[in-house]
Amino acid sequence: MSGLMHPLEKFVRPGMESRIWCSGCSDGIVLNEFLRAIDELGLDMNKIVVVSGIGCAGRASGYINVDAFHATHGRAIPVAVGIKVAKPELNVVVISGDGDLFSIGGNHFLHAARRNVGIKVICINNFNYGMTGGQAGPTTPMGAFLTTTPYGNIESPLNLVQLAAAVGATYVARWTAFHVRRIKESIKKALAKKGFAFIEVVGICPEQYGRRQKMPRPIDMMMWFKKNSVISRELDPSKAEFTPEKIVVGEFVDVERPEYTELMRGQINSIIERLEKEGKVSDVEI
């Protein structure tokens, strides 16, 4: 090996040379910004766990040289919750796609956010199911043409930011793949957050999505994001409008709420303390 090495090389899992992502896909952008964020924060790589579900975005966990788990489709969040609850000192991050996190896995998102388990969820929203070949999903815009909406999509897409805010996430941000530095800054903020944090990255899938919406080149979708996104400077999720004509990006929630694993530890400790004070082994009748 020559002495020349990419500065982020040390964060990439050895042996994972084969990249499954298409050229121009924004999954790599998110991966890149995630690695830069942990680099800049100087985080202990031994204390980060990345969990993914199934999909193109879900392959991210494999490439990061930390402990990582690749779960079943939609189930990254409950696996991450189990890890976080069992070892709260770990920084547990979920990186996955919109179909994975909000269609098949939607229920888990609601409840992890509601409980305020201190995991961080990064969703790459590319408007479709990339891995299975461009089917419509829960974030597909109305009217979009995909392999399963050959006559145009008649369903309304979810607004992920407003959903996350409604169910109790303590940090919520949205950026597009065009806003690379801001993605990184948000990831850094989320990683430092105690409670449940959510970042939506509106992504580019030229191969399965763009190609079918008259935006075949990666640059076409980038230009769309550049032209139609507006940065909101208010912490107000009601401003997080998302239509093909207007993509409002920015930070929308940044609050504190008691975190689940801390509440749980507190409860456990007080129960054990009381038993010890009373000189009892157990309070429970068998």
Binding site: A71, T72, R75, A80, V81, G82, K84, A86, H108, I268
Partner: protein, 381 residues
Amino acid sequence: MRRDVLTGSYFTLGDIACAEGALAAGCRYFAGYPITPATEIAEHMARRMPEVGGIYIQMEDEIASIASAIGASYAGMKAMTATSGPGFSLMQENIGLAVMTEAPLVIVNVMRGGPSTGQPTRGGQQDVMQTKWGSHGDYEVIAFAPSSVQEMFDLTIEAFNCAERFRCPAFVLAEENVGHLREKLVIPEPHEIRLVERKRPKCDPKEYAPFKPDEDLIPPMAHFGEGFRFYATGLTHNEKGLPRTVDPDIHAKLVRRLNEKIRRHAKEIIKVKTLYLDDADICVVAYGIVSRSAASAVRLAREMGIKAGLLKLVTLWPFPSDEISRLSEGIKKFLVCEMNEGQIVREVERCSKCSKVSFLPKLGGEIHTPKEILSAIKGAL
């Protein structure tokens, strides 16, 4: 006295004995979702887990319950979930994930009558084949069938020991009739309980290959957060844990090992109990609650001069094939009694070399009475 092993004699419920068995086995993570007739396990865990410093979490459904237990297992905890038929069906995909990622895990199914919502408050033995074949792909599992409150305690510990030793999901398959049975439970002294812990890597983290097995086909297991920085995936993977999904040899080798690590140790795992089998003409085969009626029936038959014996299957999976084929050389007839339309009977038919196999099914949540089994014994001969 230890908080996790409440040594003493009790008059209690099967479900509670199961929960106490788990705590005594070192289980410190329980995730569940309410369902009759397994809810008492969750309720007891909710009260007891904090007392031992462990975690009780009620998840949003059974899919999340098993998924989070897999996560907790990888974070280093002995983990369990408990459910009944409908929840068990929901868990199937992640049972396969636990098999593929070799996550030690105990799954309790307090069986009720199905299909579908069926008979929530009545027992059955209808999930035996689902336990073996419910998730997609080829895999082996370990499953025990307790027949008493005491066995709910003892076999839950045994299930943990197997899950930890073999790095796989292990099952406790109890009928509602046992889960809701109230009888004597003796919790022994902690030192009398044999516990098995998962094998841990001794190598330098840089050398660690998370799915490279030792001689016994079982890879040592590192935990998340210990500096090993490894990847576990449900995709076909090589010994380093990296996805290799199109190489036929890697896939075949992995799947064979996952099966073989259990098959090769079947003798260690399989437990049966026998009654009067030495000179028997007819062998009643039963498991779980039905084995108790069967034992009475066999005693009644002996009083009448009929040479009947009982083979009680304590382990259902891996199936005690050798025991059946050995017996089939000496006896004239098997009579299989099950609370279903015929599941284990097919395994008995497969394994018995020459003997005829007859079957006594029972549906509806009722246990076979000794009298019913006795008349089937008479009819079979």
